[in-house]
Symmetry: C2
Subunit: 212 residues, 2 copies
DNA sequence: GTCTATACGGCGATAGAC
DNA sequence: GTCTATCGCCGTATAGAC
């Protein structure tokens, strides 16, 4: 039998160039003014089309947000995979830097907040989060093996959670005006990374001061 | 000259019992369905009053949210100060447990997301964040002194940021459906805390309320 | 000081016209 | 494939009743 509540609704093709441009406008709107500013009318105004056209491609706002999350998520996944491959000798540093990138962190935070109470968006974010986590884990284990990082007090999984989570947390608080402890925390992590992944891989000097 | 556009607007007294009950409804609504569900009409329906009355006490939604944040913030500050005083020998454990409390973490997260793009709400959250941070810092330094915690790789400020931030981050991700790494991270921190602040001997700790 | 009634424009969403 | 008309809910403002 057919789905009972699903009414046939005409929707624009996913390959449409217009559709892609609309998603660009959505991202710009979110970065500029937050997800609350993303309305059909606002997107339409920025793209210089009618709001009806936006709704033609994205029947509900949830559809719009899910599409934006998916596009950006796949894009980020590809980028982080490429970076991890290009700098396979320092995966931690790659992930640390990646987690701090302005646009990525901001959009991630924005999507996180958005999914907080938009049920239909949760699974999309969760899927993406888990997928990224797996890629990160594989790259790090390729270098550090199963025995873990540092003194072994943290599992690799937990370590990655903290490593990528701290910048997210900092950005979240920054967006709200708090700043205490941020510089301290960043600096401490950088020192820790210096110890784990020295700047120059060609010089395996053990004279580097160890910060446990 | 007088303010040009500001007309005198009548607002309900802050001592009103009705006002306090409305804020209770706001908190319950936020916990149940998120801040997006907080509308004049929804609050009014839950409190069984007219939406106009809600507006009488809180002329704009921002006023409503700011009032809710302030009330809850002062309440939490008082509670954490009391707990830190009662268990001055284990401030880290107190803060760790406090950061995990369901209602506190959820509301904090909700307010954080709310302030993300509600300008008028930011300073309220930032103020509260900094105030709590200072209380935490004082309590921890009272026990651990200026030299810091553990091996000294993290400043006390940075350590507290991570200690209280990780539970927040976990809850944020949980609310979105992700769960990888959470148990690992929690367990690792608990073990670390065990080392820093060993569980009390079998002294009759009658003050601690057993949950479940 | 408390509270109600009413009105306005913007919003998401739907159905259907070009 | 594109766009309009329309609906009901929203925040907000105001005037006035108790």
């Amino acid at each position: 039998m057919a789905s009972p509540t699903r009414a046939p609704r005409r929707v624009g093709a996913e390959t449409s160039k217009t559709r892609d441009q609309l998603l660009d406008c959505v991202e710009r709107l979110m970065l500029d003014k937050g997800y609350a500013a993303v309305t059909y009318r606002a997107v339409a105004a920025r793209a210089d089309v009618t709001s009806g056209l936006v709704q033609y491609y994205f029947p509900t706002l949830d559809d719009l947000f899910v599409a934006a999350i998916r596009r950006r998520g796949e894009q980020n996944l590809a980028r982080v995979m490429a970076a991890l491959e290009a700098r396979a000798d320092e995966p931690l540093r790659v992930l640390w830097e990646f987690s701090q990138e302005e646009s990525i962190a901001s959009l991630t935070t924005e999507f996180l907040a958005l999914g907080n109470h938009r049920k239909s968006i949760r699974s999309e974010i969760a899927d993406n989060t888990e997928r990224v986590r797996e890629v990160q884990l594989r790259a790090v284990e390729a270098k550090y093996g199963e025995h873990g990082i540092g003194d072994g007090s943290l599992s690799t999984t937990a370590f990655l959670f903290v490593l990528t989570g701290i910048p997210k947390l900092i950005r979240l608080e920054e967006s709200v005006g708090a700043s205490t402890a941020h510089a301290d925390a960043m600096e401490a992590f950088e020192r820790y990374l210096d110890a784990l992944e020295p700047a120059k891989p060609a010089a395996p000097t053990r004279r580097k001061k160890r910060v446990r």
